[in-house]
Structures are given as structure tokens and as C-alpha cells.
């Protein structure tokens, strides 16, 4: 009958109106900034550099291979390689970035740098409250601002970080086994020569 | 002859003059609306409530809007190039003076014919209604038929235009 749809619609809106005082399903507003939604596993905003241990310079995983700089579509990463080397997670001596700048006003959060990094050194952060009144310098993050610890990485992406740690531990174990095998072969060779 | 009457009369006459003298057609219509409002207030001053409110409802609420729509739809809102006054203004003045003379004579005659009517007669809406469906029912019905005919005519004219346009468009 004519008018039936209108009455049904009015019933729905009345349910919405009165329900919004009682159930959260009927009032989905989150009053930012007093209330925040909990961040979820796959959230991503801008990249950051991971360091292991307590000292950010010594534990920085990045070896300045410059793959991410080349692969970045809007070219927002700027890397300057260092002249000397320092030991990395496995113990091998590697270069490190003397300068690592990301321009976050250019970065489009595509995550390509994370996907191509062979050393699990650059990961996606979830921090988005980056407003600043310095339009140019404030949005150019340098190496110190980008370096965040592995514990922080576990906090924001726990499953991903656990996977990364497992992979790195496996690699380290493999490298250790190879080094032990090489050392054993060497001692065996010397012992063989001696005998 | 109180001051209110003079003010309302001045308003009405000013509205009428402005309706004649202004260049922009829509301004003229709005001035005419002011004249209608003045007339309505004069009716109200004479305690003719029904006439006053009907004047506002019909003239200001419907006729003025009708005139404005007619002007807008027939591109009359542009200022005429030849100016507002026509060349045969003398004949117009003579005719207006003649009409004014006849009306003035009739009004003054009525004061002479009915000298003992000092009180304003109180005519309620009920009396008007009773008269309309009692004594004046035939004029009422004729006016209704006239209005219906006018409406049907307008619809037919509009339909003809639509059909004409469609035929032109399909050619």
C-alpha cells in the first residue's frame, strides 16, 4: 500500500536514533583525539630504519646498498654511503649509510622499498601524527629520526617482526654453521698437513 | 480622514507611479505589488477583513508572481530601447482623465445619495459566504466555469507548443 515504505523507513531511523544512546553499533563515532582506534597489523604510513640492540648507529641493519633508493617510484630516498665499514648482524664488515633522508611529503607509502630490501633494514611505520609548521625541513626525516629499535618494530607489527627475526636468526645460524664448517675444514687441513 | 489614510494613500499612489516610471520591468512589477499592498491595507482600515486578506492572498500571492513569470518567460526583463513612454501619450492621458472623472463623479454622487450612512457596515465572512452560495450562486458558478475554461485553454496551449517543438526536433 502507498506509504508503507515511508513508515518502514521511519521505524529504521527511529531505531537508529534511540539505539545510538545505548549500543556502540548504532554510534560508530570515535572522538579523535580523545579516543583512538587501536592500530592493526597491516597498517602502514611511512618507512623507518630498524636497528638491533641499544646503540642505533652500531646496530643499524642498513648497509647502504641503495636498492631502495633506485626502486623508489617518486625518488624520495637519498642515501650517501660511508667510506669505512662496520660489522653487520652476521659479523661481516659492511658499509653503512652516512646519510639516509626520506622526504615524507613525497613518499607515497607504496612499500616497494620494504619489499626490495635484502637486509630487512627498512620497514613501514604506523605513526601518522606528523604535522609540523615547517613545510620543508620538518617533512625531511634524516637518519637519526628514521632509526627505531627492533623492540618498537615488534610493538607495531608483531607477527611480521617475529617472522623477520626468525629469518635473520636462521641466516645467522647458517652463516655460523658455515664458518664452523670452514674452521673445522681448515683445522683438519692443517692437521692433515702436519701429519 | 486620518493620518493613516493619507499615508496609505501616498503609498498606493507612489507604488502606482513607480510601476509606470521605472525602467526595469521586474522593478515595475514589484512596485505594483507595493500598490496592491497599499490597497489591501486600505481595505483593512475600512474593516473589510475578507476583502483585504483576499487582496493580499490573490493579488500579491498569485497575480504578482504570475506577472513576474510571464515577464521572465517572454524576455520582457530587458530595458526597452525606445524608452518607457509611448508616442501616443496624449491620447492615453485623455482616456485616463475621462475614467478618473467618471469614477470621481460616481464617488461624490454616492455621498450625496446616501447621506445618512455614517456608520461603517460590519460585514462578516459568514455573511459573505452566505451571500455567495445564496443570492450570488449563479455568478459564482459562472466564474468557476470561466476559470476552468482558462486553465484548460492554458494547458492546451502549452501542450500544443510541446508537440510543435517535438515535431520540429524530429525533422
Amino acid at each position: 500500500m502507498l506509504g508503507e515504505g515511508i513508515l518502514k523507513g521511519m521505524a529504521v531511523t527511529a531505531k537508529n536514533f534511540f539505539g545510538s544512546y545505548f549500543s556502540a553499533e548504532r554510534l560508530t563515532t570515535v572522538e579523535y583525539p580523545e579516543q583512538r582506534i587501536a592500530p592493526f597489523e597491516a597498517a602502514r604510513v611511512f618507512p623507518f630504519l630498524v636497528f638491533d640492540g641499544a646503540d642505533w648507529e652500531a646496530g643499524l641493519r642498513c648497509v647502504a646498498c641503495q636498492i631502495c633508493e633506485k626502486e623508489c617510484p617518486p625518488k624520495c630516498i637519498y642515501i650517501e654511503k660511508s667510506t669505512d665499514k662496520k660489522p653487520d648482524a652476521v659479523g661481516k664488515l659492511q658499509f653503512y649509510p652516512a646519510r639516509f633522508d626520506i622526504d615524507i611529503s613525497v613518499c607515497m607509502s607504496c612499500q616497494i622499498c620494504v619489499e626490495v630490501c635484502p637486509f630487512e633494514a627498512i620497514k613501514m611505520d604506523t605513526e601518522f601524527e606528523l604535522s609540523t609548521d615547517d613545510r620543508f625541513g620538518g617533512l625531511l626525516l634524516d637518519r637519526k629520526q628514521l632509526a627505531k629499535s627492533n623492540e618498537y618494530y615488534h610493538q607495531i607489527h608483531s607477527t611480521e617482526a617475529a617472522g623477520v627475526d626468525a629469518r635473520l636468526a636462521a641466516e645467522k645460524a647458517k652463516a655460523d654453521a658455515k664458518a664452523k664448517g670452514a674452521a673445522a675444514a681448515k683445522t683438519a687441513a692443517i692437521a692433515g698437513e702436519g701429519a | 480622514m486620518s493620518i493613516v489614510f493619507y499615508l496609505l494613500a501616498a503609498l498606493t499612489v507612489a507604488g502606482g507611479l513607480a510601476a509606470m516610471l521605472l525602467k526595469n520591468m521586474v522593478h515595475c512589477v514589484l512596485a505594483l505589488t507595493v500598490a496592491f499592498a497599499g490597497l489591501a491595507l486600505l481595505f483593512l482600515k475600512l474593516d473589510a477583513q475578507f476583502a483585504g486578506f483576499a487582496q493580499i492572498l490573490v493579488y500579491i500571492g498569485a497575480v504578482a508572481i504570475l506577472v513576474v513569470f510571464a515577464i521572465l518567460l517572454t524576455r520582457g526583463s530587458e530595458t526597452p530601447k525606445d524608452g518607457v513612454f509611448s508616442r501616443s501619450w496624449l491620447i492615453g492621458l485623455v482616456i485616463a482623465a475621462a475614467v478618473f472623472a467618471v469614477l470621481g463623479w460616481a464617488v461624490l454622487q454616492s455621498a450625496r445619495v446616501l447621506p445618512h450612512e455614517t456608520a461603517i457596515p460590519v460585514v462578516t465572512v459568514k455573511q459573505i459566504g452566505a451571500a455567495l452560495v445564496g443570492r450570488y450562486v449563479l455568478p459564482l458558478e459562472i466564474v468557476a466555469v470561466l476559470l476552468t475554461a482558462a486553465m484548460i485553454g492554458a494547458v492546451i496551449v502549452a501542450m500544443h507548443e510541446n508537440v510543435g517543438h517535438e515535431k520540429e526536433g524530429s525533422k
Binding site: I6, G9, F17, L27, T28 | F50, F53, L57, V125
Partner: protein, 391 residues
């Protein structure tokens, strides 16, 4: 005591006016009442704007404004300050005089309508014999203001919005008047105070409000539809729809003039709801005979606010009607229903008291409604919904 509460404003007016010499007292009394109306209804406007924003928000699963003051209660003050301090931009090619006068005329005609509304026992500003006619005369004049606003802006969209608004208002004025004519027929008078007094009787505790009669209920529905269209409210708000014509006839208005248009629209809503409560809902009379101790003006304003709440509810529920759908609805459905309603009201009057007239009138009205509804809906041919997804 109850009497004092009920007549408190009348007594207050008499007391204040008694300080003046006798020859000035009538004029002073009228001026005081006018001042009261001009203060109360804009204050109600502020409350209504806040209620609308919060109410619509809750219907739409969100909070309304809640930053200014506790629960956003001072939001109208913030809005008022904003509209007063905004720059008043008048387009260069606009007709300055008409552009200025349009909101003024709108506000004047809208406030004039309050002169005949009985807001409580003995609380009507002017007790006219032809009160209803004054109200409709003022309503008709407000259309001219809308047209003036649209035309003076020299903007195609404004003009289009104004023409649509005027066409809509004129087409819905006929059902508005016809549904009130049924009430006038039964009461026998155009005076609003007499209409309220005719409804102020009680049988078995229930009042004789006209909405509780078949023709009154149908009349009230038609009146409600017509008022929603007259005041350009959803679902009839195409002339001022923000997504359609920018803002329709008040596109080129900013600052205080826009606030005046807004005020005019809401105050028109109040006055037309007030008229609706007077005609159909018994005005200032109480719903049950044991509740007559509550002051009459409280009943009037509660019914007014209830109508406003229903307006807001409708706005949150229904989508907007297109212009041709709107006009079709007016001329092809509402107008014939109003004429059938007149017939039913006439039959009611002449059938005398008893259960027969209830049955006959209800039957006629329901048959007409169902018949016309079926005729309209059969033309639509709405099938079940089908979805097509992009591959």
C-alpha cells in the same frame, strides 16, 4: 494557582502595562506582545537548529556538534557569531535594492503569521474574525520574497532554484488551503480561537481534536505533506538542496542575510506547525481531561516541538523528491485526496452523531487513498532489485 500559571503571561503583560497612562495602554500591550513573539521564536529557532543537527546526527549513527559547551549546547551562539561577522558579499551585477529587500520581506511576512496563532488561553495577539485568511495571505506573500531573492542575484542557478521553489510553493498551497477548509467547514468560523475552542471539549476523558476524526486524520496528513513542501523541507527541498543547485535561491547570500533566510525558513516551520496544531491537534488544549491543570501554553509549545521533531525525523529518513515527481504528487494525489476529504467532512457534518458516520467517512477516505495509491504505483512497475557487478 493553576489559573495563575495558565494566565501568567497575560497577567504579566497587564501588570507591566499598568505603569503607563491609560491612553497608551492598548498600544503598549500590543507592542509588548510583539516584542515577546520576536524574542521567543528566534530563541526557539536556535534550539531547533541545535536539535536538528544533533537529531539528524543520531539518526545517521554519529554525534552532532559536541565541542562548544556541554553536549554542544552553545553551538547556536557560535553560529550566530559566525553569521554576524562574515563578510556580506553582494555580486556586482546583482540588483542591489531587491537583493537587500528579499530577506527582509521574507522575515516580515513570516513573523506576521504569528499574529493570529492562539498560543494559550487568551494568548492570541489579534483575535481576528478572518484569522486563518491572514495567515494564508502572509504565506502567499513569502513566495514573492523567494522569487525576489532568486532573481536579484543575476545567477542562472539562483533563478532556476527560485522558479522551482515558487512553482512548488504555489502547487502545494492548494492542498494546504483545502485541508484547512475542511476544518473551517466543520467549525463554522475562520477565527482560530473559535477553532481551538471547538476542540476543547472532552468525551470520556478524550478530547474532540479534529485529528481523531476520519476526515481530520486524512486532512492532517495532507496538511503535513503540504507544510513540508511549503517550507522547502526534506523530502521536498530540491530548491535548496546542497547537492543540486548549490544553494538554490540563496546561493549569492552570505553572512547575516543568509542567516535571515535560514531564520525565515525555520520560523515559517514554527508558524505553520503552530497553525497545524491549532487546526487539527487542538491548539492549547490538553490531551486528556485530567491533564487540564498543566498550563495551556505548555501544551501548545510541546505540540509545536513535537511537530518539529517529526520534521527532523522525516528529513533523516526520506530521499529527496525530484521536481517532476514533486509536482505530480501534488496535483495527482494530494489535491484529489483533499477534495475527497472535503466530501467526507461534509458527510460527517450532515450525518449527525453516531457510529454510522465514522464507518462511512473512514470507508470513503480509505477507498480513495488505496485506489489512488494503487493507480500511482501500478504506473511505476517496480520489480525486485537486481545487481550487476563489474567483472
Amino acid at each position: 494557582m493553576i489559573e495563575t500559571c495558565d494566565q501568567i503571561f497575560v497577567l504579566l503583560q497587564h501588570w507591566l502595562v499598568s505603569f503607563l497612562p491609560a491612553s497608551w495602554q492598548p498600544a503598549a500591550g500590543v507592542l509588548l506582545s510583539v516584542a515577546a513573539i520576536v524574542c521567543v521564536f528566534p530563541a526557539l529557532f536556535a534550539v531547533a537548529v541545535l536539535l536538528e543537527r544533533k537529531g539528524l546526527a543520531r539518526i545517521q549513527n554519529r554525534l552532532g556538534p559536541n565541542r562548544v559547551g556541554p553536549f554542544g549546547l552553545f553551538q547556536p551562539i557560535a553560529d550566530a557569531i559566525k553569521s554576524l561577522t562574515k563578510e556580506d558579499i553582494v555580486p556586482q551585477s546583482a540588483d542591489a535594492a531587491v537583493h537587500f529587500l528579499a530577506p527582509v520581506l521574507l522575515v516580515i511576512t513570516v513573523f506576521m503569521g504569528f499574529a493570529v496563532l492562539p498560543m494559550g488561553r487568551n494568548m492570541v495577539l489579534v483575535d481576528l474574525d478572518a484569522g486563518l485568511l491572514l495567515y494564508f495571505a502572509m504565506g502567499a506573500s513569502s513566495e514573492l520574497a523567494v522569487f525576489m531573492a532568486g532573481w536579484s542575484s543575476r545567477n542562472k542557478y539562483s533563478l532556476l532554484g527560485a522558479m522551482r521553489a515558487v512553482a512548488q510553493m504555489i502547487s502545494y498551497e492548494v492542498p494546504l488551503l483545502l485541508s484547512s477548509v475542511a476544518v473551517v467547514m466543520i467549525t463554522g468560523s475562520l477565527s482560530l480561537t473559535k477553532i481551538v475552542e471547538a476542540q476543547n471539549h472532552y468525551t470520556w476523558g478524550l478530547p474532540h481534536w479534529y485529528i481523531f476524526t476520519p476526515w481530520g486524520f486524512a486532512g492532517f496528513l495532507m496538511y503535513a505533506i503540504a507544510t513540508t513542501a511549503e517550507t522547502n523541507r526534506s523530502p521536498f527541498d530540491l530548491p535548496e538542496g546542497e547537492s543540486e543547485l548549490v544553494a538554490g535561491y540563496h546561493t549569492e547570500y552570505s553572512g547575516f542575510k543568509f542567516a535571515l533566510f535560514f531564520l525565515g525558513e525555520y520560523v515559517a516551520m514554527f508558524s505553520i506547525s503552530g497553525l497545524g496544531t491549532t487546526l487539527f491537534l487542538g491548539g492549547w488544549s490538553a490531551p486528556f481531561s485530567f491533564l487540564t491543570w498543566v498550563p495551556s501554553w505548555i501544551w501548545f509549545f510541546s505540540k509545536l516541538m513535537l511537530s518539529i521533531f517529526v520534521f527532523i525525523w522525516m528529513r533523516g529518513t526520506l530521499p529527496r523528491l525530484r521536481q517532476d515527481q514533486l509536482m505530480n504528487f501534488a496535483w495527482k494525489f494530494v489535491l484529489p485526496m483533499c477534495l475527497v476529504n472535503l466530501l467526507a467532512a461534509g458527510l460527517w457534518r450532515f450525518m449527525g452523531d453516531g457510529w454510522l458516520r465514522w464507518v462511512v467517512c473512514s470507508a470513503i477516505l480509505i477507498a480513495a487513498y488505496a485506489g489512488m495509491g494503487l493507480a500511482e504505483m501500478r504506473k511505476q512497475r517496480l520489480g525486485p532489485r537486481s545487481y550487476r557487478y563489474a567483472e
